[in-house]
């Protein structure tokens, strides 16, 4: 029972983690600016704006560290690739892109992606739902689309084939092989977003990636719900493939279900929890668990997806069925 109570609040925890990661992406460039000011030993030469940044970052970090020049280097990078207290972590997609571009495997770089690969083998697309900084903006964007839909505008109503993103992954690998560059770095929203935030804060000015990202936001808003994550994202395709035989899955308890279909409405990936259809596309966002009024949905340890168990026992369809039987 207590586990059920915790599960109902996992969505809030997820939003908190997403906000923290997004905040870190903004904070780390400011910390880098502070480091460079410290390294220059020229506080008096800074402009008022730079002095404000330096002072606030000093206020923020001085309780924890003594030497900002070197100690702040322990926490660097983006979700594309970063270093966390000496532990280097990279996106598996970066490894795939590099292997495709260089036609050879560099073992230390492969090892940096080991922990994300293991996590996604166990949990599936957990990166997409819980870590990806673009997810935060995409979900806010989806809320905006819901507001527009409520106002009567026919936005984001199309549907495509979810297998499209595997094609994008394969095409991206082929482009990487042909051009000998990592093509995914230019079209993968978490990589773009982390990099562009750094460019904007520390190097003065967005690059071309931000235009691409805003186009994907517009695509989601106008054409299809969470369209980029569902149909285009090559990283999502890779994580889906890795998490095909994942251990933790959301399962519907048919005895508790009352067929209210709130889970289907709230699922931004367009899955069908009401008919036990979570497939490999589920990104473990736990929104369906949070919205379920009868606590019928919960995380379980299952290698395979459940087949359709029939209408929920608390719903009218099941009752009608029983009446007919008797």
């Amino acid at each position: 029972m207590s586990w059920m109570l915790i599960q109902r609040h996992l969505n809030k925890l997820r939003w908190f983690i997403l906000s923290v990661i997004f905040g870190m992406l903004i904070l780390i460039p400011f910390l880098h600016l502070y480091q460079t000011y410290e390294a220059a030993h020229a506080y008096d030469l800074l402009s008022p704006m730079e002095k404000t940044i330096s002072d606030s970052m000093e206020w923020l970090t001085s309780p924890f560290i003594k030497d900002p020049e070197t100690e702040l280097n322990q926490l660097k990078g983006t979700t594309w690739s970063g270093t966390l207290f000496g532990l280097k972590l990279s996106d598996p997609l970066a490894v795939v892109g590099q292997v495709a571009a260089g036609k050879m495997i560099y073992l230390p770089f492969l090892l940096t992606a080991l922990i994300p690969i293991l996590l996604s083998i166990i949990f599936g697309r957990i990166f997409c739902g819980w870590i990806c900084p673009a997810t935060l903006l995409y979900e806010l964007n989806d809320n905006l689309a819901a507001w527009l839909r409520r106002a009567g505008l026919p936005v984001s109503r199309h549907k495509f084939d979810q297998r499209l993103k595997y094609l994008v992954l394969v095409v991206g690998i082929i482009i990487s092989m042909l051009t000998s560059t990592i093509a995914f770095a230019a079209m993968y929203p978490p990589a773009i977003l982390g990099r562009e935030i750094y460019y904007a804060i520390a190097l003065s000015g967005f690059g071309a990636g931000m235009v691409f990202f805003i186009l994907t936001l517009l695509f989601d808003l106008m054409v299809t719900r969470r369209g980029f994550c569902r149909y285009v994202c090559p990283g999502g395709a890779l994580y889906s493939l890795l998490g095909r035989f994942r251990i933790f899955r959301i399962k519907r308890d048919v005895a508790q279900c009352n067929d209210c279909a709130k889970c289907n409405v709230v699922c931004q990936f367009g899955l069908d929890p009401l008919r036990d259809d979570f497939s490999q596309e589920c990104n473990n966002c736990t929104a369906c668990i949070a919205v379920c009024p009868t606590d019928a949905l919960s995380f379980t340890i299952n290698i395979k997806d459940q087949a359709f168990q029939g209408p929920g026992h608390l719903g009218h369809l099941h009752r009608k069925h029983q009446d007919k039987g008797e």
Binding site: A39, G77, Q98, G102, F109, S180, Y198, A202, A208
Partner: protein, 218 residues
């Protein structure tokens, strides 16, 4: 009938656009292309020697820029093409201090850990026709005093005070370019094959022709 009228309007508008664009195209063809020498962009310390190998290895994460204390590492943004999101150093803006943080933090083999004296980013080249002390227009010595590798890399020429002379140990970090007070930058970081002294002018050109030297790069 509707489709036909649409096609007619479509071709008509295309024709109008093409006809108006024609003078611009012709003028573009006729005017000579004047291209100023771009800022020299040098590779990072410890970067793979082969440029295409570097592009295969670099994933564009930006970690090298995030640890750089002088913030000298810039990134190809929208002008990069194949090199977009990969790092470079513009020594005219800021030079590398050879601290080695970028080589330590790089997750791939794009930057390998190299001791400061074995780094090879190029070599400093001095244009002796533009450097103040070389044309007897003053005393300077900024490049010699800033050099992190000391007198093995750049030193005053023997018996000629304040005339800088690049030596073999120069790794091309570009700090001398950053501090050079002359706006035309008589010192710049170039590839090692281009030599430590800029060769141009009538006499040098003739000399090159006699020696059968390579094409002048200026």
């Amino acid at each position: 009938m509707k489709r036909r009228s649409f096609m007619q309007k479509f071709t008509l508008s295309l024709g109008v656009i093409g006809f108006t664009a024609l003078p611009f195209g012709v003028s573009r063809l006729l005017t000579p292309r004047l291209v100023a020498e771009p800022h020299r962009r040098i590779p990072l310390p410890g970067a793979l020697k082969d440029r295409s190998e570097f592009l295969q290895a670099c994933i564009g994460c930006g970690l090298c820029g995030e640890v750089c204390p002088p913030r000298c590492i810039q990134f190809h943004k929208s002008d990069g093409g194949k090199e977009s999101n990969t790092p470079y150093i513009d020594p005219a803006h800021k030079g590398c201090i050879l601290c080695g943080y970028c080589m330590e933090v790089c997750p791939t083999e794009a930057l390998t850990i190299t001791p400061p004296r074995e780094v090879d980013m190029g070599v400093a080249q001095i244009d002796r026709a533009a450097c103040y002390p070389w044309v007897d227009q003053g005393v300077c010595g900024a490049c010699v005093s800033i050099c992190p590798l000391g007198e093995t890399a750049i030193d005053f020429e023997f018996g000629n005070f304040y005339r800088p002379d690049v030596k073999d140990a120069c790794v091309g970090c570009g700090l001398c370019v950053e501090v050079c007070p002359e706006p035309s930058l008589p010192i710049r970081v170039v590839d090692r094959s281009e030599g430590k002294v800029a060769r141009h002018g009538v006499g040098f050109r003739q000399l090159d022709k006699w020696q059968g030297g390579q094409r002048l790069k200026y």
